[in-house]
């Protein structure tokens, strides 16, 4: 019976999340569509004046389906997006192909940077959990500094340190893993490190707060009273109930690496989706930019849905709430 209730609850929760993804897609695509509608006058005349020719005009109008009512156009726009017909960039390349070429780089950067940030932040949080001690002060100070500088400045300092002074890592570029796996890792290191310092600073700040709250809870105090040492209480009593917070932070780091690493990718001349977004903005490519925005929204909301599943499995408390 309990198992059945649990199952039912899980389905309900999952359905709610799916609904929220659907809503996200509709809202975001509507925003993108309406703004593009408003701006397309510009870019249509821009494109046509470059290409010229009467038949080109007709073809262009048909390709952006500038006929029919607003509603009809929105629906065909959404259909085109969902079926992967994303059109061409301003310079005439196939958008779907361009994105497919670059998605791998961004994805490997996201995975790498999240892994690094967990490797940095979890030990640091555990060591500096006692408030007021030296590790706490050092970690807090460093994370405030990192969080109050724009991420590209952290990247500059890493480039100066690792590329110019030590000369061990390349300052920019990307090597595809099929060419050379060590080269791939070497080119990923610096962008991943600068993203992960940012995420780690965030994780340390929030995860440590959760650890501190949990170590004062009755279940942790009971362990303490039973004779466990401070590290034991921390590892057995406080760590596990703080994990959902950590998972949430990991999900938000991952989604921001997938959706918004525009700055870091540009600093390191990294051929991913973020730098493509910047290229689209600078070359006034409304179609490419809109497609990337919708894909990012899709990626972020799917990440949060996976998070919901993970939390459900990891945290028995979340199953009890209605």
């Amino acid at each position: 019976m309990v198992a059945y209730d649990c199952y039912l609850f899980r389905m309900k929760r999952l359905a709610k999340r799916l609904l929220s993804i659907l809503l996200t897609i509709i809202v975001v695509s509507l925003i993108v569509f309406l703004l593009q509608e408003y701006a397309l006058g510009d870019s249509a005349s821009y494109i046509l004046s470059e290409d010229a020719g009467g038949s080109a005009a007709d073809i262009f109008r048909a390709s952006v389906s500038a006929d029919g009512s607003l509603m009809e156009r929105y629906i065909s726009f959404l259909q085109a997006f969902l079926s992967g017909r994303w059109g061409n960039t301003v310079s005439g390349q196939d958008i779907a192909g361009t994105i497919a070429d670059r998605a791998g780089a961004t994805l490997s950067l996201a995975v790498f940077s999240v892994l690094l940030s967990v490797l940095i932040s979890v030990p640091v949080s555990l060591v500096s959990v006692k408030p007021g001690k030296f590790p706490d002060r050092a970690a807090s100070f460093l994370s405030v500094i990192i969080l109050s500088l724009p991420s590209f400045l952290t990247s500059f300092f890493l480039i100066i340190l690792f590329s110019f002074l030590l000369g061990i890592l390349p300052p920019a570029g990307y090597v595809h893993p099929s060419v050379s796996v060590p080269g791939w890792i070497r080119t990923l290191m610096l962008p991943a490190l600068s993203l992960s310092l940012l995420y780690a600073a965030m994780i340390i700040r929030i995860f440590r707060k959760a650890l501190r709250e949990n170590i004062d809870k009755p279940y942790a105090r009971a362990l303490y009273a039973a004779g466990a040492s401070y590290p034991e209480v921390l590892m057995k009593g406080a760590l596990k109930p703080s994990l959902p917070v950590l998972y949430t932070l990991i999900a938000s780091s991952f989604s921001s690496a997938v959706a918004g690493a525009a700055v870091t990718e540009t600093v390191f001349a990294f051929p991913g989706l973020g730098s493509l977004m910047v290229t689209a903005a600078l070359s006034r490519d409304a179609v490419l930019s809109g497609t990337l925005v919708m894909l990012a929204a899709l990626a972020v909301s799917s990440t949060y849905m996976i998070l919901e599943l993970v939390l459900f499995m990891a945290d028995p408390r979340s199953r009890r709430e209605a």
């Binding site: 975001v28 405030v144 109050s148 959706a259 525009a262 700055v263 540009t266 977004m277 600078l282 909301s301």
Partner: protein, 259 residues
């Protein structure tokens, strides 16, 4: 914690006053290119020979004049939304979904998209940075409003037949203030960073206006021979960030002490 807030405010005030006095876009002078800091040019000069202190001061004022409206707009529209919907508890779910949706669109992405549509601009930048915060503030605010409304003074006032708007302004809003203040400053400091990043990419404030981001973009190519071009803006930004962080932590401590 009052001391911490006061110290933070003092640092910010100092930076603003100094920026105000030295702010100037500078005059290009080929003979003064990339001079290191001296008595004449406290922060040195940039690649075109312009006084860097003046440009940094100008840039600080530009970022503040973007971050201030962003946090104000987010806060005011968020409060208005929270008040408008504080009558209906069922609206919490749509708020939640809306703020989830906005969370999936990082402000930097939205700003880049607006740039792709029609180029850089101040108003667009402010809009792109504010829009994501509004549903979030509204949601957090309305959750607190529901608690406060059924508590002490607000309940007594509503039993005395005082109108909803008046209760909201006199008995609910003052209790939200420390929390909203901390939230506004968090938005403020995040906006400064996002503005700097966007201007670095060339998609923030229009290129002819000096900004911290564009100074740093210029400094990147010469960061080994002219390190002051990135170090001095970095120190200024770090000081701003630490001061704001001091205010936020002071405010949120006084907020949790009042509960």
């Amino acid at each position: 914690m009052r001391g911490r807030i006061a110290a933070g405010v003092a640092i910010i005030a100092f930076i603003v006053v100094v920026s105000f006095f030295c702010a100037s876009p500078g005059i290009a002078d080929g003979s003064l290119r990339l001079q290191s800091p001296s008595l004449q040019h406290i922060a040195g000069t940039d690649t075109l020979g312009r006084d860097l202190a003046g440009r940094i001061g100008y840039g600080v004022l530009v970022s503040f004049s973007i971050a201030l409206p962003v946090s104000m707009i987010s806060l005011i529209l968020g409060i208005i939304l929270a008040f408008a919907f504080s009558g209906a508890r069922t609206l919490n779910t749509p708020f939640l979904m809306l703020s989830d949706t906005m969370k999936s669109l990082p402000p930097i992405l939205l700003a880049l998209f607006l740039n792709a549509l029609s180029g850089p601009g101040m108003v667009k930048l402010i809009a792109a940075l504010s829009i994501g915060n509004i549903p979030n503030i509204a949601r957090l605010c309305s959750a607190r409003v529901i608690v406060l409304r059924s508590d002490g003074p607000a309940l007594a006032a509503s039993l005395m037949g005082i109108s909803r708007g008046r209760i909201f302004i006199r008995h609910i809003l003052p209790f939200l203030m420390p929390y909203l203040g901390a939230e506004a400053i968090t938005i403020f400091s995040a906006s400064i960073l996002t503005e700097a990043s966007l201007s670095y990419l060339g998609c923030g404030v229009p290129p002819m206006i000096p900004s911290i981001g564009s100074i740093l973009a210029e400094g990147r190519s010469v960061m080994l021979s002219a390190p002051w071009m990135i170090l001095i803006p970095a120190v200024v930004l770090a000081a701003v960030g630490i001061a704001l962080e001091m205010i936020v932590s002071g405010l949120s401590e006084s907020d949790s002490a009042s509960h």
